[in-house]
């Protein structure tokens, strides 16, 4: 049942830029680039002792930007996981939002600074609140998809997850619901080879996460997660399927986490520097940049402008967050229960 070669790739051969208009292609590039610069700054802030924690999207930018591009933003539901910085930025989350989260400052949009950084939520963009326990988002997305189907609207629900977390029973249960009820649901697995230190071959005895789709009776698609257009096309096909009422899809984007798991991790004990260097050469941003340049869509001047703009946004966000006050401590005590609606 698993389609282990990405169908999107063959189409790509005919349409090297996935049929996307130049402004969309540049927007994709911009999202990836800005995310990377923001991410790099977070690592710097952590090294400077200014923030307590950072968990990175570095290396995953193509998988996430490509996925976002396949959705109707603010219409479809997105249930992300902590590594989805590029994804949520693409959907409307701002560098300021991110920096406020890192510093736990007043005005932090996802949780009012109650949650650790990278625990997203953006109601206005239909981005659902993220917790830390892995895989719980899967049944949330399936439940949202069930609701979409029951209400007859044309939304789809996307859940993102790492390959390690697919070992959780909840991942299986959620995908099973989606298959049994033929829900407009997509699970995007960002397979970056490791779950903290544990390599994927200690998580599963199959070569691809997508092979597991056979257990549910849904298509499983493997795609090069460092090729933003390939991800876009695979995701687009899955979204179209879902929106057409044809049911769920499991999409596996093969990628790599080129930095430690989080700022608390030290990856030297469990993988070689050579392996990391190899994957750094497959950098999804540099790859896409080369493609855009080859197509004449990104001039050196434009590239410099992008860089300067990203830098400026990041700087501004850091300054803003550093200057922001901490939230009023009184706010921590409230908001445990939603108030009852006023009786008519």
């Amino acid at each position: 049942m698993a389609i282990t070669s990405a169908p999107a790739r063959s189409r790509l051969d005919q349409e090297p830029l996935a049929g996307l208009p130049p402004e969309t292609l540049l927007e994709l590039y911009w999202q990836m680039l800005r995310s990377r610069r923001l991410d790099e700054r977070a690592w710097t802030l952590h090294r400077q002792g200014k923030i307590a924690f950072h968990i990175s999207a570095m290396g995953h930018e193509a998988a996430q930007a490509g996925a976002a591009c396949a959705l109707r933003r603010g219409h479809d539901y997105v249930v992300p996981y902590y590594r989805d910085l590029t994804l949520v930025l693409s959907l409307g989350y701002t560098p300021r939002d991110f920096m406020l989260g890192l510093f736990g400052k007043q005005g932090e949009v996802t949780s009012g600074a109650r949650q650790m950084p990278s625990h997203w939520s953006l109601r206005s963009a239909n981005v659902v609140s993220t917790s830390s326990p892995v895989a719980t988002q899967i049944s949330h997305a399936a439940g949202l998809a069930l609701a979409c189907k029951l209400r007859g609207d044309d939304r789809v629900a996307l859940a993102c997850i790492g390959e390690g977390a697919t070992s959780q029973g909840e991942w299986y249960e959620g995908l099973n619901w989606a298959a049994v009820h033929k829900l407009p649901f997509i699970c995007l697995v960002q397979n970056n080879v490791y779950a903290i230190s544990v390599p994927v071959d200690r998580q599963m005895a199959v070569p691809n996460v997508a092979d597991r789709a056979a257990a549910f009776g849904m298509p499983g698609v493997v795609v090069d997660g460092n090729d933003v257009l390939a991800v876009y096309e695979a995701m687009k096909a899955a979204v179209d399927r879902a929106r057409a009422g044809e049911g769920p899809t499991l999409v596996e984007a093969k990628t790599y986490r080129v930095v430690p798991h989080s700022s608390d991790d030290d990856d030297r004990s469990y993988r070689t520097r050579d392996e990391v260097e190899l994957w750094k050469k497959r950098d999804p941003i540099l790859r896409f940049r080369a493609k855009l340049e080859a197509a004449g869509l990104l001039t050196p001047d434009q590239q410099s402008e992008h860089e300067a703009r990203a830098q400026a946004e990041v700087d501004e966000a850091v300054q803003f967050a550093q200057a922001a006050p901490y939230p009023d401590v009184a706010l921590a005590a409230g908001g445990v229960y939603a108030p009852l609606p006023q009786e008519a």
């Binding site: 539901y77 249930v79 996802t110 949780s111 009012g112 109650r114 949650q115 625990h119 939520s121 109601r123 659902v128 609140s129 917790s131 326990p133 719980t136 899967i138 049944s139 949330h140 997305a141 399936a142 439940g143 949202l144 998809a145 069930l146 609701a147 979409c148 029951l150 209400r151 629900a157 029973g169 909840e170 249960e173 959620g174 099973n176 619901w177 049994v180 908001g335 445990v336 229960y337 939603a338 108030p339 009852l340 609606p341």
Partner: protein, 327 residues
């Protein structure tokens, strides 16, 4: 007012809420054609169809997880867990997700979800069809925990639960499903989640209980009335958040307190009631705060004499009341 059983009241509440609000749906194992193994959803599949009464796969974690997701959308799921004993696979979704969603999203995302489950012993269910699990959930900020003791409350509280914008864990005393009958008002009404109910006012001692044990406490209090002991019975109804005011008010009047529950004694719900009293009613207490509960063995052992030994019942409760009254 029509008389009905507790389970009929549960069914009627769901029926009326399904009719009133098309965002309400029911899911769980065997809730469809089968009408639930206890028949709580009997006839609802025929009336509302497979889009509102949805047989789930056999998987409690995702029954609740799906419910959370649908609630995030704005629907009003009622998730049935077939026996409270089988709620444990869903613990993570309830405790880490449903309960914390509103707080963690700073009020952006709501989980208007009801989780219904029959609980309790005395029905030859052995270790895994008899459990009382309320104590686990009455410790979790963000949840509301409700246990009705009679048909009127069962209907009114369940309707409130369905309309509540927060996750409500609703445990039903399965031994009382058909045993406990009572009058239920005609027409639309709700019973608010939160306030306890003084179901029998009295002067000599306060007895706190809920669900099946409340039913037994009323019986025992009736027996003691014949002996000239005037017992106040408080039906806690909402276990979480705790109605501290009602607990304190009763004991400030009577000076004596007994908590009755069929869960294991240690760290059962009575611990919290006693702790509240030991702090805030200290100067009113005329006697030790007593707990009558099940022994600290795993749930209800099957063999008939074991079950009798395990379960509190009206006789044991009456004896505890007498002893406390005599203190």
């Amino acid at each position: 007012m029509p008389e009905m059983t507790l389970i009929e009241a549960v069914r009627q509440a769901m029926d009326e809420e399904l009719a009133r609000d098309d965002r309400v749906f029911v899911t769980g194992e065997d809730v469809g054609r089968r009408g639930g193994v206890f028949r709580a959803t009997l006839g609802l599949f025929e009336k509302y169809g497979p889009g509102r009464i949805i047989d789930s796969p056999l998987a409690e974690l995702s029954i609740v997880g799906i419910g959370v997701g649908a609630a995030l959308y704005g629907l009003r799921p009622i998730c049935e867990i077939q026996f409270a004993d089988f709620i444990h696979p869903a613990f993570n979704q309830i405790v880490n997700e449903a309960a914390k969603m509103y707080y963690r999203s700073n009020g952006e995302w709501l989980v208007p979800l009801v989780i219904r489950a029959p609980y309790g012993g005395g029905i030859s269910g052995g270790l895994y069809h008899s459990q009382s699990v309320e104590a686990f959930f009455a410790h979790v900020p963000g949840l509301k925990v409700v246990i009705p003791s009679n048909p009127r409350d069962a209907k009114g509280l369940l309707k409130s639960a369905v309309r509540d914008p927060n996750p409500v864990v609703f445990f039903e005393p399965k031994k009382g499903y058909r045993l406990i009958k009572g009058e239920v008002p005609e027409g639309e009404y709700t019973v608010p989640i939160g306030p306890a109910n003084v179901s029998r006012p009295g002067r000599d001692l306060s007895v706190f209980a809920y669900g099946m044990m409340h039913y037994y406490c009323l019986k025992a209090a009736g027996t003691l009335a014949g002996e000239g002991i005037d017992v106040e019975v408080v039906d806690l109804r909402t276990l979480y958040p705790v109605d501290k005011a009602a607990i304190l008010e009763s004991v400030r009047k009577t000076g004596k307190a007994l908590v009755v529950y069929e869960d294991n004694l240690t760290m059962g719900y009575g611990a919290e009631v006693a702790a509240i009293l030991a702090d805030e009613a200290f100067t009113s207490l005329d006697a030790p705060v007593k707990r009558l509960a099940a022994p600290d063995v795993p749930a209800v052992p099957f063999s008939h004499p074991f079950q009798e030994w395990f379960m509190p019942n009206p006789d044991k409760i009456a004896a505890a009341m007498r002893e406390l009254a005599a203190y």
